[in-house]
């Protein structure tokens, strides 16, 4: 299976702390994307990083990509209760292949 692995599977932190999620994958990629899924809802695109980029920022989000290690990380700074959700990485090469997801819980 090409499915990526995300680490940790679940993460609980206090509001205001930073949350870091990691994603490892196996195949070549054109880009890597992160999506958020709130409970019972569809996925929402957060950020895209291309294979020739190493770091990207969007608001409180910071994504890194290391193609030599086939890994990416998503950092959410100054977390809020509304950030509670599942976060998925997805590698894009012909099609999107999703990771296993990290369930993030922000404790108020």
């Amino acid at each position: 299976s090409q499915q990526g692995e995300e680490d940790p599977q679940a993460l609980s932190i206090q509001e205001g702390e930073n949350a870091t999620m990691n994603c490892s994958y196996k195949t070549s990629i054109n880009n890597l994307q992160w999506y958020r899924q709130n409970s019972g809802r569809g996925l929402v695109h957060l950020i895209l990083i291309r294979s020739n980029e190493r770091e990207k920022h969007s608001g409180r989000l910071r994504v890194t990509l290391d193609t030599s290690k086939k890994s990416s990380s998503l950092l959410i700074t100054a977390s809020r209760a509304a950030d509670t959700a599942s976060y998925f990485c997805a590698t894009d090469y012909v099609k999107l292949t999703f990771g296993t997801g990290t369930r993030l819980t922000i404790i108020p």
């Binding site: 499915q3 054109n30 880009n31 994307q33 999506y35 899924q37 019972g40 809802r41 569809g42 996925l43 929402v44 695109h45 895209l48 599942s86 998925f88 894009d92 012909v94 099609k95 999107l96 292949t97 999703f98 296993t100 997801g101």
Partner: protein
């Protein structure tokens, strides 16, 4: 003015029945997808259509038949439903080319086969 919409939102049916799920996008996108998310939250692509033509067909049982009457619609028909078909089915769309790699997902259809 929902971008990607799916109907129904919930579907409970008996094993052996035939059912359809509908998807519509008003974003003007060329490409549409069906994904299946199982109880462990694994999300896997099933089909992809570009301008009404099938371009990706993962190893999905032929009981599943997608139909795209036009590029704004991609429906999923499932014959002879089985217990293992219980899952959440997501439709998604994206434009073709350029910066258009982002996919836009519908709210999902929760299918429960009894």
């Amino acid at each position: 003015d929902t971008a990607v919409s799916q109907t129904p939102k919930y579907l409970v049916t008996q094993m052996g029945n035939d059912k359809s799920i509908k998807c519509e996008q008003n974003l003007g996108h060329d490409t549409m997808y069906w994904y299946k998310q199982d109880s462990k939250k694994f999300l896997k692509i099933m089909f992809s259509y570009n301008n009404k033509e099938l371009i990706i067909n993962e190893t999905v049982p032929n009981r599943f038949s997608p139909k795209s009457p036009d590029k704004a619609h991609l429906n999923l028909h499932i014959n002879s439903l089985e217990l293992g078909d219980s899952a959440v089915y997501f439709c998604a769309s994206r434009p073709t080319g350029g910066e258009g790699e982002t996919q836009y997902f519908g709210p999902g259809t929760r299918l429960l086969v009894l």
